[in-house]
Symmetry: D3
Subunit: 313 residues, 6 copies
């Protein structure tokens, strides 16, 4: 056990500060999604997992969903395949689906589990393939600029059965989930991690879905961190989309956010994994660090607006 030598008064003040949140979130489900960039090195992995360990030991039921884009790019290239993205989704041929499985279910998932172990979290690796968690079908070819594009082994979610996830949570184990899924006949399919995280969050009725991204949150003006939107709702998100504020990578995230909230997730947070301790700051402090999205701002009572990241006018 590593203990940190810090100022005693600060510890106590902080515990007082965090106490209402601890009480509020005990036993609640948080789905945290982190992209492959988070896990590029051990330091980044540890930085996230140590934060999650604190949530876990405080009694929050965390479900971690991970991606693996950069690692997959690298793997494909080392196998001589040039990664090809169409409308933000990876075209996945025969050899690529094997690479995807190896990188996501094998390399990254295991690395996270190993770091969980170091952090004292009893974690279990899952993917959409385990015990019927994600039922998917192969995506039909799409027409892009007059041409038919076959995504190959890319899946669309048909339904989610969270039984296996709940069994892990009920047994005190933290599920670490890769988005790789399959159809009913066992054909393995690649699905976007944000999409899977949103669907699982909705199916679990999660209190929060936290998306850890490279950006500080949702920005009104791309590349201008001062234009961070601290707090918005589905209508606001739609407005941002229409005004062209959302950059390419953010568009599928916006769909996932909407799906999560419509499916019953109470709050979605978009935060930067680069900001130090951003998960803890978002959960345990008033100001938060990124963007919080709810269904409808007007439906919140003043008390409800308070707990998290709500900017004062």
């Amino acid at each position: 056990m590593v203990t940190h030598r810090i100022d005693q008064t600060a510890v106590i003040a902080a515990l007082r500060g965090a106490s209402p949140y601890i009480r509020l979130y005990k036993g609640k489900i948080f789905v945290i999604k982190a992209g492959g960039a988070v896990f590029r090195d051990l330091a980044g992995t540890r930085a996230l997992i140590e934060q999650i360990a604190i949530l876990h030991h405080l009694g929050i039921r965390v479900v971690l969903v991970h991606g693996g884009g950069p690692q997959l790019d690298e793997m494909q290239r080392s196998l001589g395949i040039e990664p090809q993205m169409v409308r933000g989704r990876r075209v996945t041929d025969d050899r690529s689906i094997d690479a995807t499985t190896m990188v996501l279910n094998g390399l990254i998932n295991t690395r996270i589990l190993a770091t969980c172990r170091e952090a004292g979290i009893d974690a279990v690796g899952l993917s959409g393939v385990d015990a019927g968690l994600v039922r998917a079908i192969r995506r039909p070819p799409v027409h892009v600029e007059g041409e038919s594009v076959d995504y190959g082994y890319v899946g669309d979610i048909v339904s989610i059965d969270t039984t296996v996830v709940r069994k892990q949570l009920d047994a005190g184990l933290m599920p670490v989930i890769s988005p790789v899924s399959s159809d009913d006949t066992g054909v393995v399919l690649n699905i976007n991690a944000d999409t899977v995280a949103a669907a699982i969050g909705a199916a679990l009725g999660a209190e929060k879905l936290i998306l850890c991204t490279g950006a500080p949150g949702i920005l009104e003006r791309r590349d201008d961190p001062r234009s961070l939107v601290s707090f918005t709702d589905l209508a606001g998100l739609k407005r941002l989309e229409k005004s062209g504020s959302l950059e390419d990578g953010m568009l599928p995230k916006a769909s996932a956010i909407e799906a999560a909230i419509r499916g019953g997730v109470r709050r979605v947070h978009v935060i930067s994994f680069n900001a130090r301790d951003s998960v803890l700051a978002e959960v345990f402090t008033n100001e938060g660090t990124g963007t919080m999205i709810v269904a409808d701002v007007k439906a919140l009572t003043p008390a409800e607006q308070h707990p998290e990241g709500v900017p004062k006018p």
Copy 2:
């Protein structure tokens, strides 16, 4: 819910600092004993209960035992009885035992419960009389300086049955216990609160017994706060007793401490309720604030010495 506006970095750092302790103490039983002086006004009561609320919400199973000496003095005097102490125990005649019951089981216990309510703790008031918790017998007269002194309705503990306490803890309720007890025929008897706290702590196999006193801890030289003993064991306690370091009020506490440790309590802490946030500091920081007593210092591994209040040589 009141939230505290504090520096965000400090909160996170503090959570990291407290995290190992949170993990260590989850589900453990802490018996906290606080004398009547703590509850003299609402501010003092709140200062303690707010700290306990944090322990409670973090999943520590707290049992609070309270005394009520000053309030009882006052009550006796308002009824025209002059309080009389012999060897640190209150002589308790017929009218005084009623006064004791009223002050301890009535006034103080209820005030604590009311403050628990404000702090969001589901608490239940108990005394040694409830459901056979403390089985006592009336203390026989003692000979002091050639004279026989009848303590009246003062009890000695015969046995403890913690079933009723465990049932409350298992139901998620925090027991707040007055030391007033009774014999098998229902005669109500007054017992020292330190003695009751130590006996309940031992019977519960508590992780910690925390005695909140007016002094900063055990002092080698009375009235010299710089002579605070941070860490000792039963042999050290005996040495302090022999050397005359322990003042009058501390002698019965020393007996209680010994009884608790011999009965199976892992660590006893003597702290000052006057020091701000002293309970949280003792539990969640490395340095602690008062005196920690274990069975045998030499039997501890270096790792075991670490977690709490261990002075560096």
Copy 3:
């Protein structure tokens, strides 16, 4: 264990007689309310508790609510306060609420628990303050004969949360409840014991609410015991009220009875604690001893009328 030497044939006959009631009431909740006069001496306390012990050991889930008027009068006077009643409610100033807490939560509650112990009942003392049992607000000043009267620390019930009571019952413990309650901020408030007993009975869906009073039951003509009303319903109660039959002390009881029945209590009984074994007689014999009130006599089947205290025409 004290055994009673009685005629063997009588025991057997009695068991046969009581058997249908035993079967009928096993596992049902009875709320029994007894005023302070019952507990004026040990003999009176024992007389009631011994009867309750029999109910308890037969598997009936008894909840005992007690008052403490006479003891409180005495206490106030010994503190130099003259008790003042307005419309049957005690005006309760600053010092009086402390006295109330001491007398009800301290003295009387503990005496009952001590007697329960003697009788082999595992009992736990509660008050409206414990674990949010009674949520009350301070009663606003009322206008009496052109003058504004501030009742002081007198409460009105906002809501009842019987969780803490059910947890005790489920753990096999008998709750002994003082009516002292508090508001959400922990301000202690005095509430009438009949009112609290009725509200708790309704919230628990009790089978019976038994009010132990100084009178033999409800009388048509005050002070004429021959005018005892053995059996009536809410309409009958209203008629008695209109006809002026109900004396002062009985008026608030009538409100409590109505509240209990409207809230779901099946039968309310008003009996005399002076009549020997009146609780047992009311529960286990056909004739009963006092007044039984149901929602609507006409809605009862003949079989339902039979079991308890229904006089033959």
Copy 4:
């Protein structure tokens, strides 16, 4: 539900008298064995079952074992078989074992269940054949006066597996057990009901085994009811046996009593089913009506001797 009109004071006094026993026996197992003579007519059956219903509804876990000698004699004769007893055991040929099964498992068991139904007891009929309750082997031929006697389908108990009995008790059902048993290959065998009751009592660790017989208990001088032995132990039983006090029918009972007590049954009672309410009187009154046998009188404390049927000198 039939209610009995009896004197109210007597009911209350009786409840007080029975109360310590009710408390003492709640949840304990009583094995009651009644011979076929008890069930000769509906009146006799009802007389016993009504008493058992009271025990059952008071929370005692009753197991009823029945015989059926007289009915079997009659049946054998109506089938043209002359009943033949050797050393108190029935010689049971091919047709007789069918008759035994029909009379015990069919006629008598069903009659008892039907009466249980009338009395509001949820009862389940079992025999030694059900779910491996009694494992028996066929008794080898014995030599009587120089001749070999083949008992035919008569069994000796090899072992008892009370799982099926405990499952009924745990499900709140009262087992009514016929002594007909079988070997491992399913050959049905006749066993003496006293023997089966004693073995089941021992295997269940019963609090009491109550043998309902035609005699008022064990007599020192046959046919002299004034010579009733109220209280004895295994040594006393042996003395009675040696002195020739025990009549023929009582000898196998003496073996059963000894087996039960050596196997762990705390008290065995021999009472008359002819005496009115003899079961209730034995259980709930101080004097009892028949003979009580314990392991060793000298090992009892005075308090232990008290509860049941101990005559004052």
Copy 5:
């Protein structure tokens, strides 16, 4: 344990073949009714029970209901009573109801239990009399050809309370049920076993009711086994009835089948107990051996028609 030496490849192939059914039926309730003819000798009893043992050990919750007509005829005659049937129901006088109880609840039920024991099934014998399983009333006299016929102790079912059956199943015990029942006052009544099996099947929401008869199933032309109806529904059954195809003994069975299906049993099977392994063949093979009846053939999906006994056109 007896093991059977069979061809290894066949075993494996068979397990593969049976596997989908095993998975399909695990935990489901099958009510199997077998008439007295099945139990006429040990060989027949064993042939059925061994098949049931396989179902039981595969995790199917089997409830066995038995009749006993031929044995009862024989018994009545041996007692000098000539069996008399009116409209397929046995007239049951005073002595006959005793004979019925002895033969069904005694002889046959016990024989089945003994064979269960040999087969390693933990079975418990029940009848409609146990723990209120079947509530019946005595059938009123009927007018047949101008004459009033009193059936005597023949019952009609008022209601079924399967609590006692479910408790056995939940405890892992197989109920073996005789149709003898009683009214609320404990008067024992004879009821047709098909009727009882159908009512219990409906009350349990059984997956299957399997009627083991002397015929190969339902025949379109009596005595022509080639006219076996493999698969039909309630409308088909009605047509067969109208066309006169159903022989006398089959008419009450048709009523039972209809009652079962209308009451919620999914499939009823009529098979021959004479055909070797007919129960297993009906359950585990595609072709089945007898007649399967569902509510409405047209409401089945092709997949649902598949599993059992569906003839190809």
Copy 6:
């Protein structure tokens, strides 16, 4: 659901044959280990998983441990690393441990899970890294022919904590386990799959450990299938080892077998995955197909020798 059309009589006969085994093995734990060669193509994977599905649906608690040697060779080569084996263990450098994780935890584990899904098994993928299942340390360098060989990221088992495995089994989920493990700091280590399977089998107290290999079992003379050892014990295994019968690949297996049996596994089976339905044949037929090893043949009763694969002399 696919149903197989097979001869009806054969199905029934087979069910009878398999029935004693089904009863014997219900609820027991079988650890099945299959090497990478089994999973080289979908057909091989399906062949095994379909057999396991039958065991699983019959109520056997199967734990599947897989290897992946051939796939790993291929992967290493495609990454430009030449696989290097020393004493049967793979030297595993930095890049190779990543490849190992990808192939075992990613590719093969996921393929098995996908096939489980097709077969209707709710399966969860685990590796030694999940929730502290395998605690390993890095193997120290060994001296081979005067040279120090560093195995790199190869682990030795320190201890096994099967909590996570038992939680899956108790939740009705089948664990599919990759042998990749880690040390306490989260360094990922490669361990031989036979070793892991044996250690897990011992820690679970498994009924059987079944090793699926390329050979038909243990052979006395290499490459002579007619020299198959059907049945032996630890002493026999030692004899075979000394006589040089065990080929290179079999030596580490022999250690695993010994470790499993000494650790408490009752029977170890070595079978060929090439033989059709070899797992089912080994489990459900008398003759078995491969080699069965027990602790001590002489300690078996004749009955115990019977159930599996014991050749008659």
